[in-house]
Subunit: 454 residues, 2 copies
């Protein structure tokens, strides 16, 4: 290696320093705890999947963005000798948690109890062009229940979202729509065969004015009449912020359309249960302009946005699907899932200083090292302190006091204990609160109870 | 994809089902808690590293076993057009946690408080031939303190090992040696320039009889006199199971040899402190035949084996190094680290039924679904039950009782609550203990305190 080599991580990937890991774990643990309260259990899948498991599942762009593993040894040599690009790789890094989950359910179907509630918090990799807030390695936090079409699951998804964001101290709006209403809408405007371009167009409404979206549809061959009808419906959807009023309005629009009526019935069910059960801090809102790009959704779709003025976009999303596992040979498995965007949640909590100090703290107590005899006294004390569950350390060297105090400061350690000849003679320690600067002499037997109180 | 496609994970990789994840997390959490009690803090590095960060760090075999990422787009096309194999890849999956840690320390040196205590629990990948207990993806759990040569860190490593294995209920022997003694041994037998083959040979002593190891050294050019001297020392090392007696013996052997005297002084320091501080369930033993293959160790080396008759080999290991970060341009950083083998610990705990039931459990309570009205009653109860921290669910469909009970059994749920017309009229639930078969009628307000008691 050349001397000029400057250590770095690959483009679009990150190291996480201790404070960041602790804060990220606080987010993950909060989400996990809620998932588990609802009966969801963790699974893990390998970072690599067979290439054939992944290809063709994420569209053409997705195929291009999958990280592939280079073949090794004989296989690599043969592929190169044969000019056979295909054989250069057999495995790839997982691109999301949904396809591996589908593969997992099919592969282990005989070992799972259905309806199967799983959660999964693991990194995924995409060879996207890195930009602010978009990384090539990032974590997804998914929960899915598969093997039931009960709408109670949708109700519980809303409850889980409310629980998580209440615990995190983030007031949110949970937007809900139903894919059946989009199908109905395409039929209503006379373009039933153009559901996918319609979905993609509606998905852009939060970033683009309605007129521009309609102009795009004009280019895609939507008739003038279709555009006029769409404009009326989407304007009503935008202006009617009251969900009940919007549902009434849509009932008129979709009268006689089976998809529309079914979609509204499902929506009304979720709203009615959520109303009875109550939400803590979140607000549920019916949003006709919510589309979500993924084509496998067939029923309810969700998206969560902060209720503050922050422009962070959606911080969670999900929906109901009817056939996630069909592609792996197990058709007809209905399910519903939700995914949390940990990076955006992190940024929001950081911006509002929303991480609880205690749950993301490192060492709580540092013993200053004044020399071998004093260190022995402290080292012996450490045993019972650690046993009491207190994170504590002894500075390993008898370095200058200033250096040791700087270490305590840098590591944001709240308490520093000093033991010199006087303290040893009195079987005590001098305890300094690094935040207030106060210090006091405490008998060594009182130290633990004192620390637990503070 | 062809219909015949049978979903599977890539060779040497594994899916983890819920019970296994929960049990693995129990091991990781136990280790993490101990690490944190000693002031170690978590870091995370990306799954991928720049290829140049990894190559040349693990020897020739290591270079061959690294999983490389295939280049994409233009770069790939150019590499193929140029017949340039080197440019087929720029990134690779991490092979261990030590090299990424060294890269991390150098890269972030201005943001770290030294001595820096970090732990890291992440998967690594090696394209080894898979066999029983050896996987291509597996987790490493490492803790290191870097930036101090204080021997107190070695003492604390022994204490941490004792804490972890005591908590896990696994009585172990902690073997310790010192690389300086191996240097001294090479000099003592007159083969100071053959330290590396000597280390490799000694490392085989737990799998091979002494005579065979000596024969191997004969082939490597060790003199007859060297072999005789080695035989005497290694036989004494094998037969003197008392650490103090073995240290006395080695003191005679290495008298006047600076490395030997320093190594023994370091060993005596660790033994004396450990004796004062005490170990809970582990035993510390000086083992002259412990060598550990890695060349970067320079002082104490550790290895942990179960004290039972299980033939699982070592379940933890580590040591002191003087220059981990020099290769990345930051020389002279001394440190000491330890690594836990989670897969072997898992197998041992499983074999002895050693996983605590409570800490690895999923759902605790299932409400049977008898229909919409009853389900509404249960769904409302669930709110306060989950808020009380109890993992509970309602079966989402009003399926046949038998199917729902099978689900509870398959998921090993301990309590099932049944609510029919009678229970609703009495504002109660019938609670069934699935282990004992007992059931009783409980007022809905008593349910939580009842469950918390059980």
């Amino acid at each position: 290696m050349s001397k000029q080599y400057k250590p770095s991580t690959p483009k679009g990937t990150r190291d996480f320093l201790p404070t960041v890991v602790q804060r990220r774990n606080y987010i993950f643990d909060t989400i996990k705890t809620v998932f588990e309260h609802y009966g969801y259990q963790p699974i893990e899948t390998p970072a690599m999947e067979n290439l054939e498991t992944l290809t063709g599942k994420y569209g053409e762009e997705g195929d291009r963005l999958i990280f592939k593993i280079l073949a090794r040894g004989e296989k690599l040599n043969k592929a190169l000798a044969d000019f056979n690009q295909t054989n250069l790789t057999e495995e790839a890094l997982r691109y999301d948690l949904t396809v591996p989950f589908a593969r997992f359910v099919v592969q282990h179907q005989n070992d799972l109890a259905f309806p199967f509630r799983r959660y999964q918090i693991q990194p995924v990799w995409r060879a996207d062009r890195p930009q602010k807030g978009r990384y090539r390695e990032f974590f997804q936090c998914d929960a899915d229940v598969i093997g039931t079409d009960s709408l109670r699951c949708e109700v519980e998804i809303v409850q889980m979202l409310d629980n998580v964001f209440t615990k995190l101290g983030l007031p949110v709006e949970i937007k809900i729509n139903n894919r059946k209403l989009l199908t109905a809408l395409a039929a209503y405007v006379g373009e039933a065969d153009k559901l996918i371009p319609l979905t993609i167009a509606i998905d852009k409404l939060d970033k683009m004015p309605l007129d521009k979206v309609l102009a795009d549809l004009d280019n895609q061959g939507f008739s003038a009449e279709a555009q006029t009808k769409l404009k009326t419906v989407l304007e009503a959807a935008r202006d009617l912020t009251d969900s009940a009023a919007l549902m009434d309005k849509m009932e008129q629009v979709f009268a006689g359309n089976a998809d529309g009526e079914k979609g509204l019935e499902e929506l009304r069910y979720v709203f009615s249960k959520v109303k009875t059960l109550g939400l803590e801090t979140s607000k549920l809102r019916f949003d006709m302009s919510l589309a979500r790009g993924l084509n496998y959704y067939t029923g309810a779709i969700f998206e969560v946005v902060p209720r503050t003025d922050e422009q962070v976009g959606s911080i969670s999303g999900g929906g109901r699907y009817d056939d996630l596992t069909g592609v792996f040979g197990m058709p007809g498995m209905s399910g519903v899932g939700i995914s949390f965007g940990a990076d955006r949640i992190y940024d929001m909590l950081e911006a509002r200083d929303g991480f609880p100090k205690n749950e993301t703290a490192g060492t709580e107590l540092l013993f200053v090292n004044f020399g071998e005899t004093e260190a022995d006294f402290c080292h012996e004390l450490l045993g019972s302190i650690r046993k009491a569950g207190i994170r504590a350390e002894l500075y390993p060297d008898a370095s200058k006091m200033k250096k040791q105090m700087k270490y305590a400061n840098d590591k944001q350690i709240k308490f520093v204990a000093m033991v010199g000849e006087d303290e040893m003679a009195a079987d005590s320690v001098t305890l300094k609160n690094m935040e207030s600067g106060e210090q006091e002499l405490i008998g060594k037997n009182e130290l633990i109870s004192k620390l637990k109180m503070l």
